[in-house]
């Protein structure tokens, strides 16, 4: 089974090609192709996961791809425990999303194309996970970006969807510049793209710490774009314009996971790097991991505060994702390699569940505004129950998936730098708080808008919800007694001892958030209006998303427009003017040439013709046509000759 791992990304890719080529013929049968492919990939991923579960050594298999100068670049699969785990997560969620989409997207005019794109998305992410070298990873990375662009802008008739797709594409590709430069730098130093080569202990040790720091920083820049880290997170909330199952895919498995996965994959280099760069050096952070943790901490806090005040159900979940991604980065940054990746996995399951659940709600109510919902608990019981599971898992309710992974991150943060710990704990509190708000507004209370007639969704939507609820509950237990850490196992990683204080604070933060949220939004004590007045400056700040979009707009986009305007002005008044002047001169010169041609050249030709004609006119008078005249001339000529000869 392991030998055929390369088929896992190729099957969905094939489904994509078939789906695009035969789309019009397949029409409403298109999902069978995609689901068949992803189902096969899912089965293979499970097989590989089981097969490699107890094996230690990674499987590495490659073929020659290209040769740069004298350096051969190979392409193949690198299959370690991290990859095996990601394969299962990605295929599971892709499968669920595709099944779910058959009902959610039913009757869409581009139904077959939608499934083709989903297949491409899965194929790209699976390729990224399996890639055995950085270059192949970058290729898949860009394919992930492309398919996210296609899917976010799937309903491109809506201007907002079009703008959101463009924004996602531009922001992530702006960040990908960092990835590309990091890749060049790393290649220049190691002459190789292969993970097996560049990540070997020998190679990493031989790398100067500053270089490793710079490479790590550049790669992290790419990860920031993909994984929506502050301040590049701005594209992710806008990406909600896509169909909701796509949001689930983006948020759980295929897009934002890529950045965290990449940091996890390149972890030895991040660990090795030292770099002092403003503003991080100002607070005494001079390691790459420190920077990662810092960015993660800011992200998790900022996103969580915005999540509190959003009124669009998908936006709340989007900021929740940003916040949780920050949490993962924070975990990775404080040295919790397994903790960060554990959270990536658990989060994937319950976030996919939450998004699909919100999709079900939107499907049932035809609105995304939480203030128009309320009281859905009775009308959508299955959605409510599964959503409840996801909500509790995300909020860190004890023994559910999120609780385990958050606890590990908090533990690592506790042992690293206490500030990170308190930020993380506070963010966990806020997460529970705004998720309770979401629950209270959506499912509890009474319907606020009589226009909304909610109904429960069909089996194709509820099936995946129920299916995903299972791992959302159970997968956390893998973390019991470092089970997951032993499975993933980074050489040299010290596993922290269980700390009752941390566990207590972590659980208290989650439960406290739940309680506070319930008080405010369930009971109305204190009322939301009072809170908004009390924290009025903060409320305004959060409502406006910390003005980050405005910051980007006024700080980067507008100056870029100014530069563009300047360029346009230069183009118009310098380049065009020169071109026009040259054209004008050419015209004048060619006018002179024409005069010379008509009067001198043509004149000479006409003159010669006129001369010849005139001479002929004269000479032809000699030709009388009378033989006797000619004879007369001959006789006279002979006589003249005689006179001359004598």
């Amino acid at each position: 089974m392991v030998d055929y791992a390369f088929l896992i990304p190729l099957l969905p890719l094939l489904a994509y090609v078939v789906g695009i080529a035969l789309g019009p013929q397949l029409r409403n049968w298109a999902h069978y192709v995609s689901i068949g492919a992803i189902l096969a990939a899912f089965a293979m991923a499970l097989g590989i996961f089981a097969e490699t579960f107890s094996a230690r050594a990674p499987v590495h298999d490659s073929v020659l791809w290209a040769t740069y100068g004298s350096v051969p670049v190979r392409m193949g699969v690198y299959l370690d425990h991290l990859t095996a785990m990601m394969l299962v997560v990605v295929t599971t969620i892709s499968l669920m999303v595709q099944i779910y989409s058959t009902e959610y997207m039913h009757g869409d005019r581009r139904y077959s194309r939608y499934f083709a794109y989903l297949s491409l998305f899965s194929a790209a992410m699976l390729g990224l996970v399996l890639a055995d070298n950085l270059l192949l990873m970058l290729v898949c990375w860009e394919l992930v970006g492309l398919s996210s662009y296609l899917l976010i802008g799937f309903w491109f008739e809506k201007p907002s969807a079009m703008r959101a797709a463009k924004k996602a594409f531009v922001v992530t590709h702006f960040a990908d510049l960092g990835f590309a430069f990091g890749l060049y730098l790393l290649f220049a130093h190691t002459q190789s793209f292969d993970f097996a080569t560049i990540l070997s202990a020998h190679s990493v040790e031989a790398m100067p710490k500053a270089l490793a720091g710079l490479v790590g920083l550049l790669l992290f820049c790419g990860a920031c774009g993909k994984s929506a880290q502050f301040p590049l997170h701005v594209w992710l909330p806008d990406a909600m314009e896509g169909p909701t199952p796509v949001s689930a895919l983006i948020h759980a498995a295929t897009m934002v996971a890529a950045g965290v996965f990449m940091v996890g994959r390149m972890y030895p280099i991040f660990e090795h790097g030292h770099i002092a760069i403003v503003p991080f050096s100002l607070i005494g952070i001079d390691t790459t991991l420190g920077i990662v943790a810092c960015v993660g901490a800011v992200t998790t806090l900022v996103a969580a505060t915005i999540g509190i005040v959003m009124t669009d159900i998908k936006k709340v979940l989007a900021y929740s994702t940003v916040s949780q991604l920050g949490f993962m980065m924070l975990g990775l940054g404080v040295g919790g390699y397994t903790a960060g990746l554990f959270h990536l996995m658990t989060h994937a399951f319950f976030k996919a569940l939450l998004f699909l659940g919100s999709g079900s709600v939107i499907h049932g109510t035809h609105t995304q505004e939480m203030w128009e919902m309320g009281g859905l608990r009775k009308k959508m019981p299955v959605t409510f129950a599964t959503f409840m599971v996801g909500y509790l898992a995300l909020s860190g309710f004890p023994l559910l998936a999120g609780w385990w992974s958050k606890d590990e991150i908090l533990l690592d943060a506790w042992n690293d730098w206490r500030v990170f710990f308190w930020i993380a704990a506070f963010s966990a509190f806020l997460t529970a708080f705004y998720m309770t708000r979401l629950m209270a507004l959506t499912f509890f209370g009474s319907p606020r808008n009589p226009e909304v007639h909610a109904h429960e969704s069909g089996p194709a939507i509820l099936g995946p919800l129920v299916f995903l609820a299972v791992p959302s509950v159970l997968v956390g237990f893998w973390g019991y007694n470092h089970g997951f850490a032993h499975y993933l196992h980074l050489p040299g990683e010290a596993l922290p001892e269980f700390n009752p204080t941390v566990a207590l604070i972590g659980s208290a933060a989650g439960l406290g958030g739940l309680g506070a949220g319930w008080l405010v939004f369930g009971r109305g004590v204190p009322s939301t209006a009072l809170l908004a007045r009390l924290f009025s400056p903060l409320y305004t700040l959060f409502r406006n998303k910390w003005y980050i979009d405005e910051l980007w707009w006024n700080g980067v986009v507008v100056p870029l427009f100014l530069v563009a305007d300047l360029c346009a002005w230069l183009d118009r008044w310098v380049v065009d003017l020169t071109v026009n002047a040259v054209a004008w001169l050419t015209q004048r010169i060619s006018g002179l040439c024409r005069l010379f041609d008509t009067h001198v050249v043509d004149g000479a030709v006409n003159l010669s013709g006129w001369l010849t004609g005139g001479t002929g006119e004269l000479l032809r008078r000699l030709q009388t046509g009378r033989i006797q005249n000619y004879l007369m001339v001959i006789v006279l000529g002979v006589l003249a000759l005689l006179a001359f000869v004598r």
Partner: protein
């Protein structure tokens, strides 16, 4: 001998030639022009025969016949006959086309 000297024959031939030439150059009637040509040919014949008679053959050693002058004149007569035949044919053709044989008016071969 008296009159019968070479100069006498040459003089007569020259007179005959000039008469013929004058006729050729001045007559408008095509037949008369043809007659002029005949006169000029016969002037040449007279010369040939006279030279054969009065000038001793210096080319006998080279194998020339003593009657070369007469032979040439026979040739000329033959050519003259042929020429007259062709000429008369042209004149008849001319007449059929123009109903006259006035050479002055047959000038359509010019430009």
């Amino acid at each position: 001998m008296g009159l019968l000297r070479l100069e006498f024959f040459l003089g007569v031939a020259a007179l005959l030639f000039c008469t013929g030439l004058y006729g050729v150059l001045t007559r408008r009637n095509a037949v008369a022009v043809l007659m002029g040509v005949e006169l000029m040919l016969n002037a040449a014949n007279l010369n040939l025969v006279a030279f054969n008679r009065f000038v001793p053959s210096t080319t006998a050693a080279a194998g020339a016949t003593p009657l070369a002058g007469q032979a040439f004149s026979i040739f000329v007569i033959t050519v003259a006959v042929a020429e007259a035949a062709v000429g008369l044919a042209i004149i008849i053709s001319l007449y059929r086309n123009f109903q006259h044989i006035n050479v002055d008016d047959v000038n359509f071969l010019r430009w």
